[in-house]
Each structure stands twice: as structure tokens, then as C-alpha cells.
């Protein structure tokens, strides 16, 4: 990478790669040269499980604008989910 923008966080769930579904352990978010999207730089999100090797990766490469929209959508979905969980807790 020619940028140093890389963020890693834990992520528990499942992802789908070429080899099928696999248990996800972390997410890597970076701003770097994409391999496939026809962009000079892209926000790349990889859901991975390093213990299963490099192929255990569910990836997207999207524009910065798309990433902002995704972050907003994620925030709205999380807010909705928390509201639902709060109601369930009552």
C-alpha cells in the first residue's frame, strides 16, 4: 500500500468467500489501491479469518462516497437494532 490508512477491528459472524461460508473473526478497513474496482483509491473492507489462510476473505472495494453512505446506513441500522433490542428488554 502506498497509504497507511488501515483499521482493524474484531468482527464475529460469518462471511462468504470463493470457498463458501467461513467464520469471520475480524474486519479490515483500508483506503488503498483496489485490485478490481476501476478506481485509483478505494475504501476496501475485508471480513477475514487469518487462521484459515488468505482465502478466507469476503471483500468489497468501494468509492469513498459509497463508504460514507454505507457508514450512515450502518449507523441507522444499528440505531434501529438497538431500539428493537431495548423494546425486547422491557
Amino acid at each position: 500500500m502506498c497509504t497507511s490508512v488501515v483499521e482493524v477491528c474484531g468482527a464475529e459472524g460469518a462471511g462468504k468467500s470463493e470457498g463458501g461460508w467461513f467464520p469471520v473473526t475480524s474486519a479490515v478497513v483500508s483506503y488503498d489501491h483496489p485490485h478490481h474496482a476501476l478506481l485509483e483509491e478505494a475504501i476496501t473492507i475485508d471480513f477475514v479469518n487469518p487462521t484459515l489462510g488468505p482465502g478466507a476473505r469476503a471483500a468489497v472495494e468501494i468509492t469513498l462516497e459509497s463508504a460514507k453512505a454505507l457508514a450512515a446506513a450502518l449507523a441507522r441500522a444499528i440505531a434501529g437494532a438497538e431500539e428493537m433490542e431495548d423494546r425486547r428488554g422491557l
Binding site: 485509483e40 488468505p54 476473505r57
Partner: protein, 248 residues
């Protein structure tokens, strides 16, 4: 003159600390002797473009080797392996230098080599090519293609990349060619100027060419940053430089 017939193979060679790493080798058909080129791949990985570039050098009469700097991240598609390396914060500079010295030594031990070896790398591979050239006496010349982060801010330094390559400029022991795009953000024109000023300060032999209308990675024909005129001129300069310093 084009060398249409070529021998292509994957070999295993000793890299940093004697670790076995794979390398893609292409050389013109025949006994030689051929000048050698070591290709240092970029962070998108030991990928198809680097294999193609290796064969391109063979087509032009060079024995070329591109070693896998990401060997230790495991087997897989080059983009998956590169993503794993990115998540790990890249590879250590010292390891890349050791691996590249291993590739150079392997090349120098071949009976079909003419005794001369040049190194070339693009993007992060350009950075590593410059860094390597500042740590070895084993190569006869260097081509750096838009090396990102040769100039680094203190906050960009990491245990894997503890020193900005520009700090080692005084140790550069061979002539250098550098190609850059004026619309590049890493390295940006100011960083290229700093890079050049340091070479000048230490009295190094170098040629820098800066292209208008080009940004980062303008040789990559499969990416939107490809710029055909600048790329064709750049390749011409690369081959002229290698012919001058490596002979044929």
C-alpha cells in the same frame, strides 16, 4: 531486437534469514549470456502484472526474476495474500531487503548471466527497490517507479518500517533512474523534489523524469491510472537505462 522464445519457470531461492521463497523467472531462449533484472513487486502483491513485466524483460533480452515478498503470508490468490499482508501492517523492510538480496544472489549464480544485475520496482516496490539499493553493493543500477513513502513523516514509521528510505540516500552505490507522475499523491511532487534534493546533496548519479498528465501507477494497463503515452515513454527510458548500465 525482440527475443520471442523464452524459458519461464518458478524456482525456490533463499531469502532473508535463509527462508525459502518462490520466484518467477523468465529469460530468453538460449545459453546467453544475458543481463539480469530483479523485479520487486508492489503491495497489490506478487501478481499477474509482475509476472507479465518479468516476461517483458525476457522479451527484451534480459534474464528477469520476480521473487515473492509475501511468501510468509501463505498460499492463495495474490489479492487475498496482499490483503492479509495489508492487515498485518505490511512486511518488514529488513525482510524485503534480505529477500531481494537472495534473489540477486540467485541470479548472479546462474551460468547464463552476463555478470550485471539491475533492480526495478513500482509503487511500494519502488520504495523497496530504492531501500534495497541503499543496502547492497550487489546491483549495478536501480529503477524506481513512483516509490511511495520513500519520504515518510515520523508518525508513519512503524517497527516494520523504522526508517524512511530517504535517510539512507548517502549509501546508494549505483546509478538510479526514477519515473514519477506529477499528479501522484504518494509520492507527491514535493516528496519527489525532496528525494531528488537528497540524491543531489550526496552527489549520486541519477536521472529523474516527471510526467505531466500522469498520476500513480501509470504503467498499469489494467487500471484507470494507465496513461499510454507516458507509459510508453517510460518503458523506453527504462530499457535505455538498463542497456546503458547492464549491456546486452
Amino acid at each position: 531486437m525482440a527475443y520471442r522464445g523464452m524459458t519461464v519457470e518458478t524456482v525456490s531461492l533463499s531469502g532473508h534469514n535463509g527462508d525459502k521463497i518462490s520466484a518467477y523467472v523468465a529469460r530468453p531462449q538460449g545459453a546467453g549470456k544475458f543481463p539480469g533484472v530483479v523485479l520487486i513487486h508492489h503491495n497489490p502483491g506478487w501478481d499477474e502484472w509482475y509476472c507479465e513485466a518479468t516476461r517483458k524483460f525476457a522479451h527484451h533480452g534480459y534474464a528477469a526474476v520476480s521473487h515473492n515478498l509475501f511468501q510468509r503470508a501463505g498460499e492463495g490468490r495474490s489479492d487475498d495474500v496482499a490483503a492479509k499482508v495489508r492487515a498485518e501492517g505490511g512486511i518488514p523492510d529488513a525482510q524485503a531487503i534480505g529477500d531481494t538480496e537472495g534473489a540477486t544472489k540467485w541470479l548472479r549464480a546462474q551460468p547464463w548471466l552476463n555478470g550485471k544485475v539491475g533492480a526495478i520496482g513500482s509503487c511500494s516496490g519502488g520504495r523497496l527497490a530504492f531501500l534495497y539499493a541503499c543496502h547492497t553493493k550487489s546491483i549495478d543500477c536501480l529503477v524506481e517507479l513512483w516509490g511511495g513513502r520513500v519520504v515518510m513523516k515520523k508518525e508513519e514509521l512503524t517497527p516494520k518500517m523504522p526508517t524512511a528510505p530517504i535517510e539512507f540516500t548517502k549509501n546508494l552505490a549505483c546509478p538510479m533512474l526514477g519515473l514519477f507522475g506529477n499528479e501522484d499523491a504518494a509520492p507527491n511532487p514535493e516528496q519527489v523534489n525532496q528525494h531528488e534534493a537528497e540524491l543531489k546533496k550526496h552527489g549520486k548519479t541519477y536521472e529523474f523524469h516527471r510526467y505531466d498528465g500522469a498520476g500513480h501507477g501509470f504503467f498499469y494497463y489494467d487500471r484507470p491510472m494507465y496513461r499510454v503515452e507516458q507509459a510508453l515513454d517510460g518503458w523506453k527510458k527504462v530499457f535505455a537505462f538498463f542497456e546503458k548500465h547492464l549491456g546486452k
